[in-house]
Point group: C2
Chain length 458, copies 2
Amino acid sequence: MTRSTAFDDLTTVLGQRATRSKSELDQHARSETHFPPMPPDVVVYPETTAEVAAILRICATHGLPVIGYGTGTSLEGQAQAPHGGVCVDFRLMNRVLQVNAADMDVVVQPGITREALNAELRATGLFFPVDPGANASIGGMASTRASGTTAVRYGTMRDNVLALEVVLADGRIIRTGTRARKTAAGYDLTALFVGSEGTLGLITELTLRLHGQPEATAAAVCGFADMGDAVAAVIDTIQMGLPMARIEFIDAASVTAVNGWSGTAFPQTPHLMVEFHGSDAGVREQVESFAAIVAEHGGTGFDWATQPEDRRALWAMRHNAYYAIKTLRPGAVALVTDICVPIARLAEAVSETQADIAASGIPGPILGHVGDGNFHAILLYDAADPAEVARVHDLSHRMVGRALAMGGTATGEHGIGIGKLDYMEAEHGAAWDVMGSLKQALDPGNIMNPGKMLRQGN
Amino acid sequence: MTRSTAFDDLTTVLGQRATRSKSELDQHARSETHFPPMPPDVVVYPETTAEVAAILRICATHGLPVIGYGTGTSLEGQAQAPHGGVCVDFRLMNRVLQVNAADMDVVVQPGITREALNAELRATGLFFPVDPGANASIGGMASTRASGTTAVRYGTMRDNVLALEVVLADGRIIRTGTRARKTAAGYDLTALFVGSEGTLGLITELTLRLHGQPEATAAAVCGFADMGDAVAAVIDTIQMGLPMARIEFIDAASVTAVNGWSGTAFPQTPHLMVEFHGSDAGVREQVESFAAIVAEHGGTGFDWATQPEDRRALWAMRHNAYYAIKTLRPGAVALVTDICVPIARLAEAVSETQADIAASGIPGPILGHVGDGNFHAILLYDAADPAEVARVHDLSHRMVGRALAMGGTATGEHGIGIGKLDYMEAEHGAAWDVMGSLKQALDPGNIMNPGKMLRQGN
């Protein structure tokens, strides 16, 4: 059997760092997703780019699927192995290779997590801002074009990856981009690989843009009578050019969950959670301007946290909202939706979604990155009840339809994987075929993360 | 002859908007570049996307080259026709299709110029910030991934194009991206087409990110004893997180030219020209912080312009620097270099370049976008003197070598075209082959702007 020969070849290169142990396969069969386990045939732990290239040459020879793996926190099944194959776990390639403080960039291996990176950067006065919530690996974040709470100010992975080293399906090693801040030299391959979910190659090194740790930070929560007021306040804030570092929305149902989990006592109405970064005077001015906007829209209960521990508590509350919400229905599986719409349509998108969820009888608190027009409904369903499974998929399906009709996207930040595959045609039309042509050009054998993102079975 | 049949076909679709008049061919043979004229065989003026698709189907049938044309302000020969063919001039497709003020985006046709766009936007309180100096067309700016003086704050075309409509080589019409602020839905085709210089398709519609017109603006010029001090001040400013809207460097030789042209009397030393955007108080604070940094580095002669007419005069001076410099050697041809390096290497890159220019005996004032690490030497040479032509190309060649050795790029913003083709291999290595594979996948007949950017003759 070719997979067995392939395993011998992998063992020759990696020794015990190639494994078929059941526990390792099981562990790499899952990620933070509602999909059932899909185990690979082999897990490998490369330590160098040369080893990654050797792995890919072996897989190309044997026609074996290759799946990159970081921390398994992707939500759409990107790291799972529907066709088996070789799971390339990057945990041993987790070093900071170069900190260029004056240039405000850093060169890292893909397996480092964002928290580990920021811990290493602390003394430099710089930080890497992209924060998807989970302590994901940087390689995984690049592969899924992750973003999260700070994208409104600092951008997504698209904006913060300057250069890559990538191993292609045939084992060739390429470098895309440079450490220069901008370039007009040819096709933007860096942007092509960022968000390609391992379907074009494996990322083995990343050069990231860093930002200065702000002199002052202030964060706050405030409540609104309804969703429309909260969004109107956000639109005014953006239009005034106030440089929010974070602006998050949580609906009344989420507030209930958060109060239960964190012991807080916020009124059960929609809330905004915001953060400003800047100089002392700058933050003070931003806070005042924002407070005035909030007051105009009837916002109340303003409480500013300028101490690091208070802010940490506030954002821990936000990051834990997912777990808090899950306790609303013990034993339920969570399907997390991820649509993103032009911001003027956001209030409409959220209220239509809320009405739809209410009618379904399925618990589905909503929270999201309101500055980007991106929000998540956390739909809690009983996976053993086929009728409920059908209802939850209908809900999710209607949300995507709503987003596309409003000029938005099926996924703001979680990516396609298996979970959003069925919407590629609707969102992209003929452009999906173009993606297929690019895939075919770089991976004619379709060994790179097959079953994800692209049209299947061609 | 196939070109004559093709012309008949084009005339059937476009009537008199397809032309072979010598004056039109001559006019489209040139751009703002040092290359000799390279005329197309036909010039066409489409009015709709459907017409562009018809043009491309005709060209595909006849195997004719297709070259997109905006205002002819590209500097590396992108809009010229080394293999003849059909020049598609977008001047009639120059409308604003949709202003979405609450979403801060706009949908435009490719032929609109940036100044015309901003004139239409004035009443909305919004503006499109990318400013390459020339009043270029938005389609051309996207195609060359243009940037300019404001990129340090607002980013380049890469950062400000949300979505595109593109006609492919076979006449298929695709849409990339959406009006949502971010998306993780598949390959970033928008980023692939931005900067592809018309080699993958023709852009027929663009959705652009807009920004709020700042409440307050302040601009200033200040002098430094030497280049190193000026760059050190810039690095400190960036590291402090001061949000400069513009920060431009002009060397002593450029100051001489500017004084001569604009009647100013700046001391003949390196200068920085800066601009801050923000609230009244915010700009005041930024100005104070910047002044303190400048003083630390021995900067002098600070003069703040907060009145619109003073600022306009200041930036007109900067934008006219190219013409001012050209008067230093009447009749000379200007070769404008465009390297971009990590900012910590900038002072070194500029001083080595200055020494090299001085040794060559060729006038070559330097100015550039110091916040991005990008600068231009304007090399004034006698095109009739083969020895001088050789010397100027050697100079340019060494500059690119220096940039690549420092981890930079051959071109920060002017693109590849014909002029930087010889550096693609050195800058990208095997990644250049990957670009070739993508090109082959989307344009197997090589009709889209042949002779530019990609490896030739394969």
